[in-house]
């Protein structure tokens, strides 16, 4: 005897599909919760890896936790100490300076190079160039830091040899305070530009050719087309690039750790470097947690501000 769907048996007046009959109650229960159960594995990972550590950090920031021993509740003491901590304030300033160098430079470079590759080299060479520029993105930050440290050796590095070849004296790249920060920032730009280049390239390829053809007919030069067509059309992409670049800049640690260790004289100590020093060298994990919360707040404020700015321009 066949049971067709049209005459499927019902339970409490609701039609029950044959599969429900075969699989019974559990499938019905799953459907009752919508798609939530299917999200649970990813949600669990997100909670464990992201949400729980943030909440725990917030809790630890109100304690004198030292990793090796549980801490006591100290209220706002850690935050008060942060306000009076000149070294931490220096690290905040240095992080902002680093970000102000890195983000505009890597955004502009990525955009210009993407434009050149998209418009002038839409061929095998363009693909090759994009691949080559993406290689630093794939490299480990630690390896990049160590290699660049050796390239910039003030007495025997490759860069020093080039300077000597052209008869110039090489700057002490990692031995002067502000120059060391700029040098680390430039290495960051070198590493990141390939990533944002790929994003911009995809964005440029998505702009309608008709706009450029029309502009060319009206006598617009390439620069005018770039300024009045490309840049406005890439506003959402630029927003993404700037936000990502800003967040990454505030998180910088590996390069600083391997290239300068935060020196010379604390000149390249960024906020995350300060957090590392407080937590792992000074055994003040509660204090380091307070620093982390402040860092999170700063990044949130900046991201909201950028979002608002982009929204207003729309």
């Amino acid at each position: 005897m066949h049971t067709s769907i049209d005459h499927a048996p019902t339970v409490s007046g609701r039609r029950v599909r044959p599969n429900d009959q075969r699989h019974g109650t559990p499938r019905r229960i799953l459907r009752k919760f919508g798609g939530v159960p299917y999200l649970m594995p990813s949600l669990a990972i997100l909670l464990v890896v992201v949400v729980a550590p943030i909440v725990m950090t917030l809790i630890f920031s109100f304690t004198s936790y030292s990793i090796l021993q549980p801490g006591e509740f100290v209220g706002w003491e850690n935050y008060r100490a942060l306000l009076a901590d000149q070294a931490f304030m220096s690290s905040v300033k240095q992080t902002f300076v680093y970000t102000l160098i890195v983000v505009p430079l890597q955004t502009l470079l990525a955009l210009v190079i993407a434009e050149i590759i998209a418009k002038r080299f839409p061929n095998l060479f363009g693909s090759f160039a994009r691949s080559v520029l993406f290689i630093p993105v794939l490299s480990s930050l630690v390896v990049v830091g160590i290699v660049w440290r050796f390239l910039l050796d003030p007495r025997a590095g490759v860069v020093e040899s080039l300077f000597r070849f052209v008869g110039l004296e090489q700057p002490n790249w990692l031995g002067r305070p502000f120059l060391a920060l700029v040098t680390v920032a430039l290495v960051t730009v070198w590493k990141n530009v390939g990533y944002f280049l790929v994003i911009y390239y995809a964005g440029i390829m998505g702009i309608s050719r008709d706009l450029y053809d029309a502009a060319a007919l009206d006598g617009a030069s390439r620069v005018q087309q770039f300024v009045y067509i490309t840049i406005p059309s890439l506003r959402p992409v630029t927003f993404l690039v700037v936000v990502l670049g800003t967040i990454w800049s505030f998180q910088v640690f590996d390069l600083v750790y391997t290239m300068t260790g935060g020196g010379p004289g604390g000149a390249t100590t960024t906020m995350v470097m300060s957090i590392y020093q407080a937590g792992f060298q000074n055994y003040q994990m509660g204090y380091a947690s307070a620093m982390s919360v402040v860092l999170l707040a700063i990044i949130l404020v900046i991201s909201l501000f950028q979002r608002r700015l982009m929204g207003k321009e729309k």
Partner: protein, 423 residues
């Protein structure tokens, strides 16, 4: 209850609450396995690299050395070599997460903080009378009257190497012995067109002060902390004298400007390149300089008010989490035994630590190690790592010209004493 969003929210809140409660409830539980005398099948042994400078693999050599002990005790020893740069951080995270070692290596600057937090086992009751009579430096391993450390590496004396060719070219016929003679020799080397002196003031880690500052501090009659370990002492007459001496070397160009950007590896390579007169480093680096073809000499210690230089007395310790203290101490005793240490010292030339081993280190340095009065190891003071980081940063700012020696030491003293006041 047909709203999936509501279920999702409830599930998320419940999960976060559970995770937070679990996280707060766990955390460090020091000594959780102390007292359980069950015999483990594996012991974790963490050590820094000590043989790489001489071209050997620590893991391979130690693996061979430990085989007889493993066979006798039916226990595998898992050797982990941790790089110097990340040693303190890895030790901290390992010990706090109960995934740390059963036996490990610590240097003096690390120990006080772990002892204060009950992370290390006092070994007094496990040492036999034979141990006490055999080991040479047991007193160096005592903190607060208890034996927490078993000295393992005694050596690494910092000496002033000199390139004989560079000195001869400059007309320096005898190596200097005092600060004044050093200045004269350095000026002659500079006049001859070579680099008089190199120091790695751009090194990311503060441990280079063992070579670039502490010997000068002790030679000038200064010290790091007061006897009680409750206050810093480097901003005294000796400390100022040492800081001003180094500052003047840079001002006069006897230390090039580039030193603020040099790390240790780069400084060593520069010395090997053959146009540098003087460079201070550990005695264990002599073989690599000789391999580079250098005609090398060394000065054990210059003299100002007195002689003084750094010596490492680093130790094996047993963390409190070791499941079987007797087994862990047995491993330590085996590693420190004469036969094992003799083979170890073939690859890592340090001093004997017990009477059952004859000196087999580099013969050039044997007489230096007999001058115990001029050899200084770092004291065991709680939070001293933080104080050294502060001092290093201030001295770097001095060498950058951002601060005078007086300002740098005063600021280091102020910040350092604030840290020690929390003890």
């Amino acid at each position: 209850m047909n709203n999936p969003r509501r279920y999702a929210k409830l599930a998320a809140v419940a999960a976060v609450a559970a995770l937070v409660l679990a996280g707060c409830a766990s955390g460090a539980s020091p000594g959780s396995s102390v007292g359980q005398d069950s015999k483990p099948k594996t012991l974790e042994l963490w050590l820094p690299p000590t043989m790489a400078d001489n071209g050997a693999s620590d893991v391979v050599v130690l693996g061979e050395l430990l085989k007889p002990w493993e066979k006798e005790n039916g226990v595998d020893v898992n050797v982990t070599i941790v790089s110097w740069a990340s040693y303190e951080a890895k030790m901290l995270t390992g010990m706090s997460s109960d995934s740390g070692p059963d036996v490990t290596y610590m240097y003096n600057e690390m120990v006080a903080d772990y002892i204060k937090r009950d992370q290390l086992l006092a070994l007094d009751k496990y040492l036999t009378e034979k141990d006490k009579s055999n080991f040479l430096y047991l007193n160096k391993g005592q903190v607060n009257g208890k034996q927490y450390m078993m000295p393992y590496i005694v050596g690494g004396a910092r000496v002033m190497f000199y390139n004989e060719k560079v000195l001869q070219k400059a007309g320096v016929t005898t190596p200097p012995t005092t600060w004044d003679e050093f200045l004269v020799a350095a000026r002659k080397i500079k006049a001859a067109g070579d680099t008089p002196f190199l120091q790695e003031w751009g090194n990311p880690t503060r441990s280079v002060m063992n070579s670039i500052f502490f010997p000068f501090l002790w030679q000038a009659g200064g010290d790091l902390f007061n006897k009680e370990g409750t206050a810093t002492a480097f901003n005294g007459e000796g400390g100022l004298r040492a800081a001003k001496f180094l500052y003047s070397l840079k001002e006069e160009g006897l230390l090039p400007d580039t030193v603020t950007g040099l790390n240790q590896a780069q400084a060593r390579d520069s010395f090997k390149a053959g146009d540098v007169g003087f460079y201070a480093d550990g005695d264990a680096t002599m073989p690599q300089f000789k391999t580079a073809g250098m005609q090398l000499g060394f000065i054990g210690s210059l003299t100002d008010k007195q002689q003084g230089t750094f010596i490492a007395i680093d130790s094996l310790v047993v963390p409190a989490k070791c499941a079987s203290p007797e087994l862990c101490v047995s491993l330590v005793r085996y590693m420190l035994s004469g036969d094992v240490m003799k083979k170890f010292h073939e690859y890592a030339p340090f001093n004997p630590v017990a009477k059952d081993e004859a000196y087999s280190g580099q013969p050039e340095f044997q007489s230096l190690y007999q001058q115990a009065e001029i050899l200084h190891s770092l004291p065991v003071v709680q939070n001293e790592v933080q104080v050294y980081n502060i001092l290093y940063k201030q001295l770097q700012q001095m060498m950058l010209g951002q601060k005078t020696p007086e300002q740098a030491l005063a600021d280091a003293e102020s910040e350092g004493n604030a840290v020690l006041a929390k003890n």
